[in-house]
């Protein structure tokens, strides 16, 4: 049900904002055109356009962009800071653990691999499974239940530290492949046999 809610939300935000922008544009154009066509309105236009050079611009017009820009700057600083610290977890494939520089067991890593068929186990609150990539495998323990579409035979990225040959994961994400297939019976069996071969 969460799925349906998210899907509906996505589409309504998309279509709704497009429609809103379109309507706002039409309304604004209509009122502008009306002002330009009426001669008495033009006098108002001329009046509006008579700020003497010495007069300061109204403070509201100066303040609003400044506030927006200020907010955006704060967000920008946050993003840069988080991106810098976040990318400290080094990205490794399973077969690179202990082989490639930076993928040794002394630091936090992000490991990419596919969940082995039949390896998924739920022990109390812990989830354990084996992930492999390019012939190498790595046991993973995760405290909790991974979200998303986590299942066997699916590529995942696990964040954590390798302790005694077991990856103690603190976070698991599903890496979706770029293949899309419609769901129907023959294809499911086909996909299951091919995904873990």
């Amino acid at each position: 049900m969460k799925d349906l809610g998210f899907i509906l939300l996505s589409w309504s935000v998309t279509l709704g904002s497009m429609a809103l922008l379109a309507l706002a544009t039409l309304r604004r154009a209509k009122s502008l055109a009306a002002r330009i066509r009426r001669p008495e309105a033009l006098a108002v236009v001329a009046m509006e356009l008579t700020p003497r050079p010495d007069q300061p611009a109204s403070s509201r017009r100066r303040l609003l962009p400044a506030i927006i820009a200020g907010l955006a700057v704060v967000v920008g600083i946050g993003i840069v800071a988080i991106f810098l610290t976040s990318s400290i977890d080094y990205y490794c494939n399973v077969d690179e653990i202990g082989v490639r520089e930076g993928c040794d067991d002394t630091r936090r890593v992000r490991v990419q691999g596919t969940v082995d068929e039949g390896s998924l186990e739920q022990r109390m609150s812990t989830t354990a499974f084996v992930m492999s990539f390019n012939g190498a495998s790595l046991p993973v323990e995760y405290d909790g239940e991974p979200g998303g579409i986590f299942q066997e035979c699916i590529p995942v990225v696990a964040h954590g530290r390798v302790v005694d040959g077991v990856l103690q994961a603190t976070r698991i994400e599903v890496k979706h492949s770029n293949e899309y297939e419609a769901q129907n019976k023959e294809r499911i069996t086909e996909a299951e046999t091919s995904a873990c071969s």
């Binding site: 349906l4 935000v13 904002s17 998303g148 990225v157 979706h176 293949e179 297939e181 419609a182």
Partner: protein
């Protein structure tokens, strides 16, 4: 260094087509585009929700894709349009403000669509990756692109003469568009959680089921039509604002003349 042309008088500003009809932003051509947008959009929604089947792995959440991918595509298209229009307005010596208006309108619509791509992508990510946001190259570079164009619009909104606004924002747009290849290829360059492109990938294989591909394709068409409609209307709106300025200038000159005579 080019000097901008004096703003043309009166209704000539809106071009020949405008003089014939009442002042407004709609023409028969835009009405047709509008109707086409509505028709294709209806088909995309119906197909995305009721006709296509769920994906093998993603399940129903693939239905978000039909909005996410076209939105991202239109955002790129909008930013490239902005850059081209800005380039022309820099190179041409005369009548550059029209191109500046197109550049501004296109960036406005582009920011909207980029925002939509981020929102829908984030919702899709929660369903499939299990997380709303991830500091991953594609997502991060996309966010930077979004912020860049928010900054571009902030520069455009500042009270400056139209000529100064046009010049500075044109330079900004030409620099900002350099980021787009970085965003698109970030998935290939860095190892990323975001999947590589399914349709526009380097191998040339299309990794999509037939009907799904068709729905996605019609989504791109529908969103592009919507983009065209919005840009045409918004740039005409800006032209009306500028026309108000010119007409205002005419009456203001007249007003100053009486001011001098009265004294």
């Amino acid at each position: 260094m080019s000097d901008t042309t004096p703003t043309p008088h009166g209704a000539a500003l809106l071009g020949a087509g405008t003089a014939r009809r009442s002042l407004g932003t709609a023409t028969p051509a835009t009405r047709i585009i509008g109707l086409l947008t509505l028709a294709t959009m209806t088909w995309v929604v119906v197909s995305a929700f009721f006709i296509t089947s769920p994906d093998v792995v993603q399940g129903d959440s693939v239905r978000i894709m039909y909005a996410h991918v076209p939105a991202a595509w239109v955002a790129y298209l909008a930013f490239v349009t902005t850059a081209i229009a800005s380039g022309i307005s820099v190179v041409r010596r005369h009548r550059t403000l029209g191109f500046d208006r197109v550049a501004g309108a296109s960036a406005e619509v582009g920011v909207l669509f980029m925002g939509l791509a981020l929102v829908t992508g984030s919702l899709w990510g929660r369903l499939t990756w299990g997380t709303f946001w991830q500091w991953d190259p594609r997502l991060t570079t996309t966010l930077f692109l979004f912020i860049t164009y928010v900054g571009y619009l902030a520069v455009r909104r500042i009270d400056a003469s139209p000529e100064r606004r046009a010049k500075r924002s044109a330079v900004l747009a030409l620099l900002a568009v350099l980021e787009i290849p970085l965003v698109h290829f970030s998935v290939v360059l860095w190892r990323s959680l975001h999947q590589e492109a399914s349709v526009l990938n380097p191998d040339g294989d299309v990794r999509l089921d037939g009907l799904m591909l068709f729905t996605l394709f019609s989504g791109v068409v529908a969103f592009t039509l919507g983009f065209v409609w919005l840009v045409i209307h918004r740039q005409r709106l800006q032209a009306l604002v500028d026309l108000q300025g010119t007409v205002g200038l005419d009456s203001a000159i007249a007003a100053r003349a009486t001011e001098a005579v009265l004294r």
